[in-house]
Symmetry: D2
Subunit: 291 residues, 4 copies
C-alpha cells in the first residue's frame, strides 16, 4: 500500500497563510536559516484584493524525523507574531488517500498507474466503488477494494458505511475518480478532510448531469474538465486545475466522451499530485497553486 518511490526522509514543507505584514518573509527565512534548513523550493503570493499572504517553503533538514516536534515548537513564536495559519508536513509521510469510482474507470486507472510509477505521493488504504467492475481494475495493484452499492433508498446507509470505512483507515483525502453519486452536505462535513472531484466540463459551464451532451447541444468548439474541491454546493467548490481540448462539428457526443476521457485523466491527476505535494492553498472559494 506504499508507493514504490523513496522520498527524502529529511524533506519538509511549511505552508503559511496570514495577513501580509512587513517582515513576514524575513522572519520565516531567518527561522529556516537558524534551524539549518536547506531550502530547495520557495514560493509566495500576496492577494492584492485582501492583502492575504501565502507561502510554501520546501526544505531539507538533517535528522528531520527526530527534530520535527522541536521544529514546530521553535516556529510557534513566529506563527503567533503574524497570526498565521500554518502546517508543517514531511514529504516522506505520504497522505492516506481513498479513491472512489463508479462504472467509468479511466480516471481510477490513471491514478493507480501514476501511483505505481511513484508520481503520486500517497498511501492508498482502500478503493471503493458502487459498481463491482472496478474490482478487476484494482486487483493488479494489490490494493483493498470495497464494493459499496448505492441506491436511492440506501444512500444514507451507504454514506454512513463509507464514512466508517474512511475513518477506520484514517483517510486524509478522498478522490472522486468519476464517482457518480452526489455526496450529502452531512457526509462532507462529517468526513472533515478534503475531497477532490473531477467534473467533465469547463466549469462553470455545464454544471450538473451530462455535461458532454450539454456541450454538444451548445455547439462549443472546446471541451474541458475541471478538478475542484467538493463543497456542499454542486460543482461550485474551489477549482484546482482545468484543461480543454478542441472539438468540431464532426464530433458526436460519443466522441466528446472519448476525447474528454483523456482531458479528465490529465486534469484530475495533476490536481491530486499537487494536493499531495502540499502545493494547493485555499483562499475563500479559490485556490493558490504553487506548481
Amino acid at each position: 500500500m506504499h508507493p514504490p518511490s523513496q522520498p527524502n526522509p529529511n524533506r519538509a514543507r511549511l505552508l503559511i497563510s496570514c495577513e501580509d505584514r512587513p517582515g513576514v518573509v524575513a522572519a520565516v527565512s531567518q527561522f529556516a536559516y537558524e534551524q539549518g534548513a536547506n531550502v530547495v523550493d520557495a514560493d509566495q503570493h500576496t492577494e492584492p484584493d485582501d492583502l492575504r499572504f501565502f507561502m510554501r517553503l520546501e526544505f531539507d533538514l538533517p535528522e528531520l524525523p527526530d527534530r520535527l516536534s522541536a521544529l514546530e515548537r521553535a516556529f510557534l513564536p513566529v506563527a503567533e507574531r503574524f497570526d498565521m495559519q500554518w502546517q508543517l508536513t514531511r514529504a516522506a509521510r505520504p497522505k492516506r488517500m481513498a479513491l472512489l469510482a463508479s462504472k467509468q474507470d479511466h480516471c481510477l486507472q490513471e491514478l493507480l498507474w501514476l501511483w505505481k510509477k511513484g508520481e503520486l505521493e500517497a498511501q492508498i488504504p482502500l478503493v471503493v466503488s458502487n459498481h463491482p467492475d472496478a474490482r478487476e481494475v484494482v486487483a493488479p495493484f494489490g490494493l483493498p477494494f470495497h464494493h459499496l452499492p448505492v441506491s436511492k433508498d440506501t444512500k444514507a446507509e451507504a454514506e454512513a458505511s463509507l464514512l466508517t470505512l474512511l475513518r477506520e483507515h484514517q483517510v486524509e483525502l478522498v478522490v472522486l475518480a468519476r464517482y457518480m453519486q452526489i455526496l450529502s452536505a452531512d457526509f462532507i462535513s462529517g468526513f472533515g478532510h478534503p475531497i477532490i472531484n473531477i467534473h467533465h466540463s469547463f466549469l462553470p459551464a455545464f454544471i450538473g448531469a451530462n455535461p458532454y451532451a450539454q456541450a454538444h447541444d451548445r455547439g462549443v468548439k472546446l471541451i474541458g474538465a475541471t478538478a475542484h474541491y467538493v463543497t456542499a454546493e454542486l460543482d461550485a467548490g474551489p477549482i484546482i486545475e482545468q484543461d480543454v481540448h478542441r472539438v468540431g462539428h464532426r464530433d458526436a457526443v460519443a466522441d466528446l466522451v472519448r476525447i474528454g476521457r483523456r482531458v479528465e485523466r490529465t486534469v484530475l491527476s495533476r490536481a491530486v499530485a499537487w494536493h499531495l505535494e502540499d502545493r494547493v492553498l485555499l483562499h475563500g472559494n479559490k485556490t493558490v497553486v504553487f506548481s
Copy 2:
C-alpha cells in the same frame, strides 16, 4: 476600400445544405465535372442526429464572371432534385463588411491590420464607433469613419441611423469588434444579414457584463473568448470559434483583461476570416466550420 490582395477572378464557392440522400455527392461532383470546373477544395459533413448534409466546394472555372448566371441556371435542377439550400459565391467579389467598435480598440486594430495584409477577403465601406477615439485608429487605413454616439435615451434613434448607414453602404456583414452596446431584436431582424460578435469569455460561462471579473471571482484556471453570430438572445447565438489561455493566482482582473485581449483578437479574426471565405454554415443554433 478594396483589400490589396488580388483573388483569382475564376474562383467560385458552392455551399450546400440539404437532407442527406443517396446520390447527392455524385450529382454535385458530376455537375462540377460537366461544367469543366477544377475543384481545389471540397469538404462535406452529415450530422448524424438529423441526417442533415452540408457541403462546400471551391473550384476554378475559366471565364467565371461571364458564365456565372448560366452556371446557376445549370445547377438549379440538381438543387431542386435534392431540395437544397445553396449559394454560389465568387472569391473575387469580397463581401461588404462594416466594423463596429467602442473605446476598446484592440479587435478593431487587429481586423484592420489583417485586412491590409490581405488576410480578410472583404471590402470595408465604413467603420462605426460610439466613441470618437476610434477615428485615430481608422485614419491610417483610409477608411470612412462614422462617430455615432449612443446614450440610454438615444438608443432607438442611434440604431435607426446605424441601419440607414448599413443599408446605404449595402453592408452584408457586421462585425462587433468589442462594440459595447446590445443591439435590439428589431435591429437584428431589420438588418437581416449576419452579425458576428466577440464575447470575452468561454461561453456559455460568464454571459453578460464584466466576464473577466466574473472569471476572477470564480477562480478559473483558463480564460477564453468566443466569436458567435448575434441573435436576439444575449450571448446565445451560434458559436463560430473559441480559444483559451492559462491564468493563475498571480493574475489580477487587469491581467485577465490584458491576456484576454490577445485571445479576443485571435478568435474574432479567425471567425471573420472563415465567414468571409464562406467556410461557416449554420445548423440550427450551431455551426459547421469547414476550416
Copy 3:
C-alpha cells in the same frame, strides 16, 4: 485477442491516391452511388506542389462481407481510368498489430488500455519485449507475451526471431511503444509492413539518444513527442502526429521525462488509432492525415 467493441460489419473504407485529373471525384462518387453505398464520411486533398490527389471514403453497404470481391471488381475500371493507387478495407476486419516494448512501459500500458476500451481497431496477436518486466503489464489483458532479449552480439539473431514471430502471426502493423532497439534496414524491408515509432522529442529537434537531456541542455520552453513511420534513416520517417507541453527553468531532466511520458502516450495512441482507421496516407516522406 479481439477488441471488445463490435464494428459495423457493412462498413468499408476506400483509400485513393492518384494524379489530380478532372472527373476523379465525380467518377468515385458515381461508383459509390451506383453500388448503393451510404457514404458516412468523405475527405479529399490535392497537394498543390505536385497535383497529387488523395481521397478517403467511408461508407456502409448492405451485405458488404458477401459483396466485397464484386465491389473490388466493379471499381477496377475507375481505378484504371485514373491510374489510382487504391485500397478497400473493411472496418470489421481489424488489422493485426504487434506491440514492441522495452523497460519503459507507459506507452505499452496506454495502448493496451485504449485497446481494451475499444478505441483501437486492432487484433493484438502478440506483444514482444526485450525486457522481462513487460510481461506483468500484459498479463491482465490476456495477450500472448514474448520475451526476446537483445544484446550487441545477438542483435541479428533477435531480429530474425522477431521477423519469424511477426510472420507466423501475420502481423500487418508493428508499433514501437518505446522499444529501445534500432531496427536494421534489412529488418524493415524484410517485414514489409508499416512500423510506427514514438520519438520523445519534437522532431527534427533532438534526433537520437536522450532527447530530454538534449532539450534540457538547450533550454527549450516546450518539450514534445513525435509519432512517425520507421524508415532506414533514424528518426527521419514520415511524421504522423506531434504534440508539445510547456516546461520551465524549474523542470529538471527527470521532470521532462515525467511530463514527456504523458505527451508520448497521447501522441502515439492518436497516431496508431488513425493508422488503424485508415486515416493516414503516405505522400513521399510526408503524411496526409484525414482525421
Copy 4:
C-alpha cells in the same frame, strides 16, 4: 517617446544571482524588511545541476528616487558576503529600446501597438529598418525612424552607422523584429547590451534561412517560433520563449507563413515584455524566466 502608462515611482526590482549558500534568502529578506520595503512579488530558483541561486524581488519603497543610492550602498555588504551578481532597477525608469525591422512588419506593428497600450515598459528612441516601407508603419506612433539600407558591400559600414546610432541614443536593448540581416560578432560585442531576436521556427529545429519551407518539407504537424538572445553563433543563443501552432496537410508554405506570423508576434512580444520587466536572468546559455 515615453510609454503612456504611469508606473509607480517607488517601485524597484532587485535581481540576484550567486552560489546557493545557507542564509542568502534570510539576508535579502532581512535587508528588505529593515529598509521598510513593501515586497509585492518575490521569486527564486536554485539550479540543481550547479547549485546556482537566482532571485527576483519586486518592492515598493517610499521616496525611492531619492533613496536609490543609499539603498545600493546599504545592499553592498549583503552582496559581498554572498559574492552576488546583482542589479537594482526602478520600474519608473523604462529601458531604452531600439526596434530593427526589414520588409516584414508584423512583429514591428505588434510591438508598437503593445507599447502604445502601455504593455511594454520601454522608451523607444528610434526604429531602424533596412527597408523604407517600415517608415509608414512607424509614422502614426510619432517615433523617429531611420532608413539604413544594407547590401553585401556596405554591410560593415551599415553596422558601424547602426552602432553609432544606438550609442547616440543610449540604447540598452535591441529587438530584431524580423530584421533579416545577420549581425556580426564584432557588432554584438561592440554594442555590449542584450539583443533579442525572433526566429520563425521551434529552435533548435530549422536553424537558418526559410524555416517555414524547411518545416513544410519535413511534414511537421506543429510550427513554432522562438525568441532568444542573440549570440555570435546563429540561432543558438539563450531561449526566452517559444510557442507553436498546429498545421496539417492542407497548409502550404504560404499558410505556414501566415499562421506563423501570429505565433511570432505573440512569442516576441512576451519575451520583450519579460525582459523589460527584469524577469529574465541568464544562466550559461539558458534563461531563468520569473514570469
